[in-house]
Amino acid sequence: MKLLEIKDLHANIGDKEILKGVNLTINAGEVHAVMGPNGSGKSTLSAVLTGSPAYTVTSGEVIFNGKNLLEMPPEDRAREGIFLSFQYPVEIPGVSMVNFMRTAVNEKRKYQGLDPMSASDFLKLMRERKELVELDNKLANRSVNEGFSGGEKKRNEIFQMAMLEPKLSILDETDSGLDIDALRIVAKGVNHLRNAENASIVITHYQRLLDYIVPDVVHVLYKGRIVKTAGKELALTLEEKGYDWIKKELGDL
């Protein structure tokens, strides 16, 4: 079943075109890795899919779960089940994690026509999901990402993903800045949440993360287009040889 279909997507930041015709289809149950040299448009792709106001889509189409994604405001995309694990999670001083997550969970439920979750059910869910990424108990009372270490911020992203149970999660360089233990915890969380109904896009520079989160498909994004798609072995080849051989194939070197 097709969960996400991106057709000839073009997007700008200001006057500069970053995505120059991206085509990508993701089926439920799949994990897709997106790799590529710096500046190739990987983070732009995640920002455009989630509706960041910093980018303008100039042409193309994105169908998510049968709906036209690009017509929706960012909050509705999230409520439809798109989740971004941010590369740089934002701090929101004074807003406690419990308050933040409760608002997010209940907004989604409202969108789905469900009643808000009771306080006790919510706290129970929060306790359970927190354990998945081994976040400590004080988390609930701390402000969103404020004073979190780099590793805690990334684990907190996966915790939020576990709370919101998205259909499509996009992990934008979730491995950057993580030590090996934190990487394992994050990967364990992601794998735990993986099932036949959902899918993930894993954006990364390194094969290392893909040892833990094994992709079904690996894409190379280069100069705003997907230039190569293959199985998980492609990541190993890239780790070994870098990107020059692809650039050569494209006649860029």
Binding site: P53, F83, E107, L164
Partner: protein, 483 residues
């Protein structure tokens, strides 16, 4: 695109209804418009006041006539025609009909609608209320049960009648009529307000609260509140206020005086929600208020907490005179301005005694075309050895058409004291909004979350019921004001 989004958002904010803007249909007992000695005599007569009070009023009026309206604040105040204001207006019952509590049913309905039930049974437990409409107190609840502890909680008019010695002793002792233009005006024409006296050693078992409502058109409200905490006593006092939506501006010039004796403590909290005017800045309340506490006794303590969201113009500096040794003054403030609102607010901490301490936490939030200023003075006299002050003034901007200003004045005249001042200015970050959006939270709700987070340190100082109200108020006042 960004510009457009911001405009949409500003448009939406300004459409936010002021939900207290209704008018109660009661007849009023109003004296003629304008201000002169005869008017003052008339007010005094209406209230059956003793001669000393009339002569206090007349002296204040004579002094007021020598004064000019102050223009040092960062405010653009349109000229006020003081002869075009009604200085006394009392709601007049339609019939002789009164309920079991002795309140006109129409007024009962009004206060119910405002969420201030005047029946003691229906009240929030642990809170006594003095409800004031226009120039008179409508009802004071729990008066009798408080009296059993020796606590006096009543309207200032009845205090003048029933406790003349106490009122005479303290009235004008902290804010003399010569203090400033609006204080002189208030002293001349003040109508009603609350009086509180907590006797020695008594901890007031419930929150005391005054609710001020302006109802009649073209009427000024000049209330006067006097709170005295005797040795070793404690009281927490709350003040709330609203007014109907009217096209013309209305003046509110109040005085709050507090006297705190040895080891006593007063907590004074305000949620100010006067009508702020419409989206073009038409109408609204001019809120020009003098509030001051005298920490007279050793080890006494005062804390002012204010959440200011209403009024077209706010001119207000709740202050502490720290006279007693080891006395403590605190000021916690959140001031929100939107559309064309203007606020110039802050505090004064005057350190006179030894080892006196003060703490100032001010959070300004500006949106729309508003101007929001913090103005604060910290003064330490030569004798105030080992005085300490810490001030923190933060400003948060939403959009790029508003202004935030900070005017701190610091004067320290000894070398054993320590004064610290920190200030920050920030904008609500688009990345923060997007982060919330990505979690399914709309931009309006995100601003509400972020602003409440920013103001939390102050909101937390409010009593529980008020804190919840204040949080809602902050979100409503600023809904959707950022792109």
């Amino acid at each position: 695109m960004e510009e457009k989004k911001e405009n949409n958002i500003v448009d939406k904010v300004t459409k936010e209804e002021y939900k207290y803007g209704f008018v109660t249909d009661v007849e009023s007992d109003t004296i003629p418009k304008g201000l002169n000695e005869d008017i003052i005599r008339m007010i005094s007569k209406k209230k059956n006041e003793p001669d000393w009070l009339l002569s206090f009023r007349l002296k204040a009026f004579a002094h007021w006539q020598t004064l000019e309206m102050p223009h040092w604040a960062h405010l653009d105040i349109p000229p006020i025609d003081y002869q075009d204001i009604y200085y006394y207006s009392a709601p007049k019952p339609k019939s002789a009909q009164k309920d079991a509590n002795g309140v006109d049913p129409e007024l009962n309905k009004t206060f119910d609608k405002l969420g201030i039930p005047l029946q003691e049974r229906a009240q929030l437990s642990g809170m006594a209320v003095d409800a004031v409409m226009d120039s008179v107190s409508v009802k004071t609840t729990f008066k009798e049960s408080l009296a059993e502890l020796g606590i006096i909680f009543c309207s200032i008019s009845s205090a003048v009648r029933d406790y003349p010695d106490l009122v005479r002793k303290y009235l004008g002792s902290v804010v003399p009529y010569t203090d400033n233009f609006f204080a002189a005006l208030n002293s001349a024409v003040f109508s009603d307000g609350s009086f509180v006296y907590i006797p020695k050693g008594v901890r007031c078992p419930m929150e005391l609260s005054s609710y001020f409502r302006i109802n009649a058109a073209k009427t000024g409200q000049f209330e006067r509140t006097l709170i005295v905490a005797d040795d070793d006593s404690y009281v927490s006092y709350l003040e709330g206020c609203t007014a109907p939506m009217r096209d013309e501006a209305q003046l509110h010039a109040a005085i709050v005086e507090m006297v705190v004796h040895d080891r006593a403590e007063i907590k004074y909290s305000t949620v100010q929600n006067w009508y702020p005017g419409d989206k073009n800045g038409k109408g609204g309340i001019y809120n020009c208020v003098t509030k001051r506490a005298l920490c007279k006794g050793d080890d006494s303590k005062v804390s002012w907490t204010q959440v200011e969201t209403g009024s077209a113009i706010t001119w207000k500096y709740p202050s502490c005179i720290l006279k007693g040794d080891n006395s403590v003054g605190e000021f916690y403030s959140v001031a929100v301005t939107n559309n064309y609102q203007q606020a110039d607010t802050g505090t004064k901490m005057i350190h006179l005694g030894r080892n006196t301490k003060s703490r100032i936490v001010s959070k300004g939030i500006s949106a729309g075309h508003s101007q929001n200023s913090y103005r604060g003075e910290v003064r330490v006299v030569p004798n105030a050895v080992n005085a300490r002050n810490f001030s923190q003034c933060d400003s948060l901007l939403l959009g790029d058409k508003c202004g935030a200003h900070t005017f701190p004045y610091i004067q320290v005249d000894n070398d054993t004291s320590r004064v610290e001042h920190e200030a920050t200015t920030s904008k609500v970050d688009e990345d923060q909004i997007f982060y919330c959006n990505q979690r399914g939270i709309s931009s309006e709700d995100a601003v509400g979350l972020i602003v409440n987070g920013y103001a939390k340190e102050v909101i937390n100082k409010l009593p529980m019921e008020f804190a919840v109200e204040a949080q809602k108020l902050l979100s409503v006042s600023l809904e959707n004001s950022v792109g």
